[in-house]
Amino acid sequence: MADVITASGLVKRYGEKAALDGLDLTVPEGTILAMLGPNGAGKTTTVRILTTLLEPDEGTATVAGVDVRKDPSGVRALIGLSGQYAAVDEYLTGYENLDMIGRLYKLGRKQSKARARELLERFDLADAGDRVAKGYSGGMRRRLDLAGALVAQPPVLFLDEPTTGLDPRSRSGMWDVIRELVAQGTTLLLTTQYLEEADRLADDIVVVDRGRIIAQGTADSLKSQVGGERIELVVEHADQLDQARGVLAGVAVGEVAVDEHTRRLTAPVTGGGKALQEALRQLDAVGVTALDVGLRRPTLDDVFLSLTGHAAEDGEDGTDSPAPTTKAGQQ
């Protein structure tokens, strides 16, 4: 598969500070690359360089084979951009916003109008389409902005935090749209602070910190970098901790961690469900009552923490308290 987006050795300095410090990435055709990184990592800077809004100090980048520095207008004809902050004209209606963009993409009058209506429909804005965007909620603006990026059906899309500020329903709607686009062959680079989003959508993930890529791979390969599965067990009574530790040590492939305060034991295992069954059987045999037991895989949260040394900025529920893949209730 051809690489539709490539960047190599991108450097961008602001004064002394390097926003990008030798960043490389590639996105094969028809795939999604998610850039994951804490605030100030350089995600937006990367997107702005790839979309010709900013010139890098060093390095090269191409989009569909077109060099962003040598032929920026060639690149602009191929891309759609939805920036981090919704670029919506507040004084125009949603419809007028999209029609204006269509006309600037040189769609014919009829085609542009039809496309605007179609996108409003698709992004759940049909009813609000003829209202001035000043009265739109944050989520509506966000959706209108994204619709703007899709007006000309560009083969390459850049979405800078496309679902920040969306409610769960709009977010999953957005995910559906994104999957649909990629199924049609669109190549997509998106930045996100939501680990779950990267996990669910992306073919490949790059973790950025301080202007560099510090890890790269599929969600699964990144997770296996921080370790495999583990059994987490919470016992009912503190005096059962030792017994439970004995049992888990038998099935674990490494050291069993014990948190006396929460009565929680964590044991790295291989073999997943089999190991869990075995542990449960033995616990039952020795009469240990489990309050909660489950097999957990590392989440991107763990990846992120272990790689960057700081937690992702994350207001999302669900991502920071991952559900165990198998959960056995009280025995």
Partner: protein
């Protein structure tokens, strides 16, 4: 390049753009101008600024100053209106600067800059929509002027020439404001900066009173101020004459002098603004 994209990839619709870059840039300019005109309808302050303040200016000056400023050879109100025309449309150029600064601030400029459109079109469209605002303003001021005693004495054709030269000069000033708007961080700064510049520029001139009474240094500045020459050119085309014209080349040849300034301003500020547009980044 695009050949590497499989047929399953949606064809970039933008590939259908017209081949002639000038035609396509003009089209872009029209789209942007239309957008700015829609904004006039939707922003009440802009509408007030465009429609009401010129009426207020004419009435205030005509009745407040008009009664206190007797001048020989012409009715003061007839003299005054040409000056107010010039001042108001020059102030109107501020809309260009403030509008551009707002677009940069709100990230809309980034949207435009990521589209396969002519970059100059954003600026040409913007300044063109100022001309539309100024035409509306001039019509309203002319009607108000006629009501308070201003007259067109040289025929309609010459009067139209008078309006044209005022609009042309204001258009050049729009480009100065465009440059300022792209240079500064917010629309408020544009407003403040331009008032600092436009107030003296439009008062140290023959706009409200003849310059003969000015102290000599001020009189020199006023007589060579292009705001004076554009006002004088307007007055001559409207036939609002009767006062002796100062013996200064600029005012003896007001049309030529105004056109020279217009061309010079455009030659300097069009390229400056286009360049600034390329670097103006939001945030």
């Amino acid at each position: 390049m695009t050949a590497t994209l499989q047929p399953s990839a949606p064809a970039p619709v933008a590939a259908q753009r017209p081949s002639n870059p000038v035609v396509s840039a003009l089209g872009d300019g029209v789209v942007i101008a239309k957008r700015n005109v829609i904004k006039i309808k939707r922003v009440p302050e802009l509408l007030v600024f465009t429609l009401l303040s010129p009426i207020m200016f004419i009435l205030l000056f005509a009745y407040v100053f008009g009664s206190a400023i007797p001048i020989e050879g012409i009715n003061y109100r007839e003299f005054l209106v040409g000056g107010i025309f010039a001042q108001t449309v020059i102030f109107g150029a501020t809309i260009t600067g403030a509008g551009l600064a707002e677009d940069v601030q709100k990230g809309i400029m980034d949207r435009f800059r990521s589209l396969p459109m002519s970059r100059a079109a954003v600026l040409f469209g913007r300044t063109a929509s100022d001309v539309i605002i100024n035409v509306i303003t001039l019509v309203i001021m002319a009607l108000t002027g006629l009501a308070v005693g201003w007259r067109i004495r040289e025929g309609l054709l010459k009067a139209l020439l008078g309006f044209a030269i005022i609009l042309l000069f204001a258009y050049a000033i729009s480009w100065v404001m465009a440059w300022i708007g792209l240079l500064v961080p917010s629309p408020e700064v544009v407003n403040n900066a331009s008032f600092m510049f436009i107030f003296p520029a439009t008062f140290i001139a023959n706009t409200f009173v003849p310059t003969d009474g000015f102290p000599s240094a001020l009189r020199f500045v006023a007589n060579w101020n292009p705001v004076s020459s554009v006002t004088q050119a307007g007055r001559e085309y409207f036939g609002n004459t009767g006062l002796p014209v100062p013996d200064v080349w600029a005012l003896q040849h007001p049309v030529a002098y105004t056109l020279i300034w217009t061309v010079l301003i455009l030659l300097v500020f069009v390229p400056l603004s286009v360049r600034q547009f390329k670097v103006a980044a939001s945030r």
